[in-house]
């Protein structure tokens, strides 16, 4: 049966918006799929300035995944080492459930010692590749 498609302005509007949404989504997915490499997660941990709160020192940590794949269950360890000998004074850790590629997540580690007394080092202990 071939009859002419008759629609009112609302229907044309909804159709137009839908067409743009669907094509846009597909185009984006295809673009992503073609530009996506297969680099495993490359996780960079950046330390922020320590803030004193309630007798403790909170150190903000920013994680950025620069690889092409998502990392799950990312465990991060931050150690505070003494300036001279490099002996570990204190250690803190936290984990992030999901770190998609290109994404940034923030966490905080708290210390009892003033981190300015030594050197802070952040390290990614491990993660799962889902």
């Amino acid at each position: 049966m071939s009859e002419k498609v008759e629609k009112n302005w609302l229907e044309w509007g909804v159709f137009g918006v839908s067409l743009v949404l669907v094509l846009g989504t597909l185009a984006y997915l295809v673009y992503e799929a073609t530009t996506l490499g297969d680099q495993p997660p490359i996780i960079e941990a950046q330390l922020g300035a320590p803030q004193q709160q309630a007798g403790e020192f909170a150190v903000p940590v920013t994680l950025i995944n620069r690889g092409d794949q998502t990392a799950a269950g990312v465990m991060v360890e931050v150690t505070l080492e003494s300036n001279g000998a490099g002996a570990e004074i204190e250690r803190g850790e936290f984990s992030v459930p999901f770190l998609p590629r290109g994404a940034t997540r923030e966490g905080r580690v708290s210390f009892r010692t003033d981190p300015r007394a030594g050197q802070l080092k952040a390290r990614v202990l491990g993660y799962e590749q889902p």
Partner: protein, 284 residues
């Protein structure tokens, strides 16, 4: 041509259907994760597969069945667009989408949720309407899916298959992404898998042929010459295929041994069979 009010009503019905059928998925955390993890090729394939299913549903049972292909395609695109929109807004309100996420994350989560919403929209538009389509103009040829007008209009065999697929997807998709399927399949014994398969076949046969389920008369009239056994087996085959496809889409087969995949398929097959049998009777 329909009046603006009429089509507004139709869209609202679609939105209601979309939410009704997909809310369990929108509230499931495994699905959000999957949207982030899934490869873009898999997501695009998911979109295309859903689109084909929508075309089928709109062609055979939708609101304007038997209308020309352009109209069926337009309806399908509209339903998909509404699905994307509904999924996005709902997820945003739920706080699952925030604007400091990367574009890839936002698109991934929205797409993976939107496809079930789109099928819900399609079913809602066709099924949730009251009988009053007398004020529809000559624009709609097929009439709506409500009983009075459609009772004598039988769904063909191809239509039955599409319907069974839709029913199976709608019911199975809500359970498929949960960890429970993997857990059950991992711990189950071979005999229990067999028992589940038999249980699925039995429940399917009962629903389709014996308990006089809503709409089952229409179904048996359409395919009476196939017999109970053939009808049930075909329905179960569809249910298993749909279950396997959904599990694959949701990445449940990645790194699993063949027997694990099979066990998962049969476990999910129970839900898919209920959908393919009872669901399809309700959807037609």
């Amino acid at each position: 041509m329909r009046s603006v009010n009429k089509s507004l009503q139709e869209y609202a019905r679609g939105v209601a259907g979309g939410l009704l059928f997909s809310l369990p998925l929108l509230y499931t955390m495994e699905v959000w994760w999957l949207g982030v993890v899934a490869h873009p090729w898999r997501l695009s394939l998911y979109v295309l597969a859903t689109f084909v299913l929508l075309l089928g549903y709109n062609r055979f049972v939708g609101l304007r069945r038997d209308s020309c292909f352009t109209e069926v395609a337009i309806d399908s695109i509209e339903e998909m667009g509404l699905g994307l929109l509904i999924a996005f807004v709902t997820l945003w309100v739920l706080g699952r989408i925030t604007f400091d996420m990367t574009a890839g994350e936002i698109v991934g989560i929205t797409v993976i949720e939107a496809m079930t919403v789109a099928i819900g929209v399609s079913v809602g538009t066709a099924q949730l309407g009251g009988g009053g389509d007398d004020d529809e103009g000559e624009g709609s040829a097929g009439g709506s899916g409500t009983d009075g007008a459609a009772a004598d209009q039988q769904v063909t065999f191809g239509g039955q298959i599409v319907l069974a697929c839709c029913g199976a997807v709608l019911f199975a998709a809500n359970v498929a992404p949960t960890e429970e399927i993997i857990m059950i399949a991992g711990e189950i014994s071979a005999w229990r898998v067999l028992a589940l398969a038999l249980l699925s076949l039995l429940s399917g046969a009962l629903i389709l042929y014996y308990i006089d389920f809503t709409g089952s008369q229409k179904f048996t009239q359409a395919v009476a010459h196939h017999g109970v056994l053939a009808g049930t087996v075909v329905t179960y085959a569809i249910a298993l295929a749909v279950a396997a496809l959904i599990l694959w889409f949701f990445g449940r087969f990645d790194g699993q041994p063949l027997i694990g995949c099979l066990a998962q398929t049969v476990v999910l097959g129970v839900a898919a069979m209920l959908g393919a049998a009872a669901g399809r009777l309700l959807l037609q």
